[in-house]
Amino acid sequence: MEEPEPATIRAAAAGDLAGFEQLVRAYQQHVWRFLRRLLGDASLAEDVTQETFLRVYRRLPTFTFEAKFSTWVFQIARNAGIDELRSRQRRARLASVAPPPRPSAAPPDTRVEIEAALASLPVELREIVVLVEVLGLRYHEAATVLGVPEGTVKSRMFNARSRLHRWSTADDGRASGEV
């Protein structure tokens, strides 16, 4: 993901809406994709994407150029997404809900199937998968977005993959015993 010109960020921070529009257009696709997967709902993701950029605009004057701009935007998007989950009290529900039964009609590993498996992950694993798999972030970047050590990203990513794999084989007992 390419970084915007510092001049564009500074102009936007100083209130230049044309400059800010450029930033919105440069990042909204990534933010929306992230939120859609995190929230599991495209429409909700669109609303939270809007909320994200309003927050970005308000906080632009505090951006210090020490972090990558994209990482900083994802931090804000992630927090907006988590707030949304909290406010709807979805987080606890989603995290505790048992994985829905695998639809027997669908062949394993189709896109639908994989999306269902992703939705079944607890949010702290899902957000890692989305940052790394969907957006292609490196572990150190994902660690910055989430505010956790890189080692945590590594173990959570592995944990998430193991769960997704078990979900696809629908054989929790044996696989988890072995791993």
Partner: protein, 630 residues
């Protein structure tokens, strides 16, 4: 190795993160033997494919709503509130975001060879196919455009004070199948400065170009009018490859016949038309960029420079092309040798159409050659004469692409070579020619295919030879040599070649192409032969074997391509260039010479080299990493 160790290592490797304490060979060995772990790996790869490949055009555009909320966005439609009532979907798919992402992918290099980790966009997946298909529906084009060169050396050699920038106003008029008029005039140039002009119509073409006044011994100043050179050519054969008819400006077929899925930039409006954008390399767009110059020298671009290309959605006519300076040490070295002044990411060449008509009637006088009013400096007869019923005729394919109709045919003689019969067929901008001669002196295949060919089975029509770029098929028959070429896909050329009523035979052992082998033959004769398999954007290789050395030549779209040479030698020869640097290739130490664009390493007792004038080191490394045993 335990399964959990193996899977953690697989997970890291898939994400491109370093894997410590695990021997890659041991890992592969374990995975190969362990069904559970190989299942884990396959599943993880499928998850990646499912999550990364998403249509770009479904992303909502939130910018209007956000800006409305911020209080200044002006829109004709009533602005909806920012609450849950969303603005209408505008399907404005985020040019900037996609462009930024795609260009960033370029830095990784691997994005271009179809094996990188950057998401590929299904939005552009069928674009190459559509470009090739759409050429049949183009009857005429009239485009006015602006062309800007930037980053020129401070003194461009003609004494102009150009601030490193040159700007042209241009017009391209095209009428199917091969009439074309291209004019380029320097913006703000004095009226006495003639524009660059190219007019092609039927069997003649005429060109007026700027010419630098070269120092001539005994002559200190340039003669009047020496800044312009007019060439007039008659006897031009149909779709001649030796005359500058930049059909690629009409639609970039050559640039996409072998292309993989390009990175998508989404859609936007240019000159009032819906445009779809992709990112490709300058090497892929080489013919297009050469066509733009109309015979003059445009500034040089590096083959690896990214090009943002926007095409009319319906007819795939180019509407905008922006070439940016690429990044990396090789690029910097090249720029310094050129004395150009750009920084990575700078726009160095920009072509943009501002008025466009497609398939509108074109006045005939657009193609009238100025030859009658301006005395040419040079006149050439290329030797083609329309068929008069007396001369020999080229064999006619009975199986032509649908919609093709006969076009010009005749013979070429008096050029010093053998007499050649030519037939041509066309549909819109798409074309196909058959050239034949019964007087070919041999040594190599007739038709200028180059040495990199592969044998193709033409069924009852015997054996043919296809050029590595898939744009020509040659047959060597008893007493007749034939070549079929065209702008249509390789399989259609092959079908046409098989329907000529000519039986192709293997070339004689003394001919250059006799060293051509199939991949299977080469693999059988060479232990541990590596090949690039499933590489998006490159055709099957042309294979040559000679004395323990196997060369595989892979051609891609435009000028893209690379050569893989493997020879039975336990070590590399001493470096020929001082610029060779050490690099890690497939886990072993190797070296790279930027001068030759060559990557070399020894693996399994075999010296291997990957080289290309048009593919970057990053891409070569990605290609190397993906090589597999044949």
């Amino acid at each position: 190795m335990r399964c959990d160790e193996a899977r953690l290592a697989l997970s890291l490797r898939l994400d491109g993160e370093p894997v410590y304490d695990v021997d890659p060979a041991a890992l592969d060995e374990h995975v190969a033997a362990c069904a559970e772990c190989s299942g884990f790996q396959r599943h993880a790869e499928r998850v990646r494919a499912a999550l990364r490949f998403e249509p770009v055009d479904v992303t909502p555009d939130v910018a209007p709503a956000v800006l409305a909320e911020l209080g200044s966005f002006k829109e004709e439609a009533p602005i909806r509130s920012l609450s849950l009532q969303r603005p209408a979907r505008t399907r404005r798919p985020l040019v900037a975001a996609a462009a930024v992402a795609a260009v960033a992918g370029m830095a990784a290099g691997a994005a271009f060879v179809g094996i990188g980790s950057e998401p590929r966009s299904p939005a552009a997946a069928d674009l190459p196919e559509r470009i090739v298909a759409a050429q049949s529906d183009i009857g005429s084009v009239d485009a006015r455009f602006v062309l800007v060169e930037r980053g020129l050396p401070g003194d461009s050699g003609n004494g102009d004070d150009n601030d490193g920038e040159r700007r042209y106003d241009g017009r391209l008029v095209y009428e199917a199948p091969e009439s074309l008029a291209l004019t380029l005039a320097r913006t703000g140039a004095p009226a006495s400065d003639p524009p660059l002009q190219l007019v092609v119509d039927g069997d003649g073409w005429w060109q007026s170009t700027a010419r630098q006044c070269a120092p001539v011994p005994g002559q200190s100043t340039c003669p009047d009018g020496a800044r312009r050179w007019v060439r007039s050519v008659t006897g031009r054969e149909p779709f001649s490859e030796t005359s500058p008819v930049p059909l690629e400006l009409v639609s970039p077929v050559d640039s996409f016949t072998l292309a993989g899925t390009p990175a998508s930039l989404g859609t936007r409006t240019i000159a009032g038309r819906d445009a779809t954008g992709v990112v490709v390399t300058a090497a892929q767009m080489a013919s297009f960029l050469a066509g733009l110059s109309a015979g003059d020298d445009l500034r040089a671009v590096h083959p690896g420079d990214p090009v943002e290309l926007w095409l009319d959605q319906e007819h795939l006519v180019p509407l905008e092309a922006i070439v940016r300076a690429g990044d990396g040490p090789d690029r910097a070295r090249w720029a310094s040798a050129q004395a150009t002044t750009e920084e990575p990411g700078d726009t160095i060449l920009a072509f943009k159409v501002h008025m466009l008509a497609i398939n509108a009637p074109v006045p005939d006088d657009d193609f009238v050659s100025p030859a009658t009013s301006v005395a040419p400096n040079e006149t050439v007869d290329a030797g083609f004469r329309p068929a008069d019923g007396a001369g020999s005729e080229a064999p006619t394919p009975t199986d032509l692409p649908a919609g093709f109709r006969p076009y010009r045919s005749g013979t070429i003689s008096g050029t010093g070579g053998p007499e050649i019969a030519v037939g041509s067929w066309t549909d819109g901008r798409a074309w196909l020619t058959v050239r034949s001669t019964d007087d070919w002196p041999g040594d190599r295949l007739f038709g200028g295919l180059g040495t990199n060919v592969r044998a193709v089975d033409l069924g009852a029509a015997g054996v043919g030879y296809m050029s590595d770029d898939g744009q020509k098929v040659a047959l060597h028959a008893d007493g007749l040599d034939v070549v079929v070429s065209g702008s249509v896909p390789a399989d259609e050329l092959r079908t046409a070649a098989a329907s000529l009523g000519v039986t192709g035979r293997p070339v004689p052992p003394t001919w250059d192409e006799a060293a051509t082998a199939t991949l299977a033959e080469a693999a059988a004769a060479t232990d541990g032969l590596l090949v690039a398999q499933g590489l998006d954007g490159f055709g099957p290789p042309a294979v040559r074997t000679a004395g323990g050395t196997v060369s595989l030549v892979y051609a891609g779209p435009g000028d893209r391509g690379f050569t893989l040479v493997q020879s039975d030698a336990p070590r590399l020869t001493p470096p020929a260039d001082g610029d060779a640097v050490g690099v890690d290739v497939r886990g072993v130490p190797g070296r790279y010479s930027a001068e030759r664009g060559q990557l070399e390493w020894v693996e399994g007792g075999t010296a291997r080299s990957l080289s290309s004038p048009t593919v970057s080191l990053d891409e070569l490394l990605a290609i190397a990493a993906a090589l597999e045993p044949a």
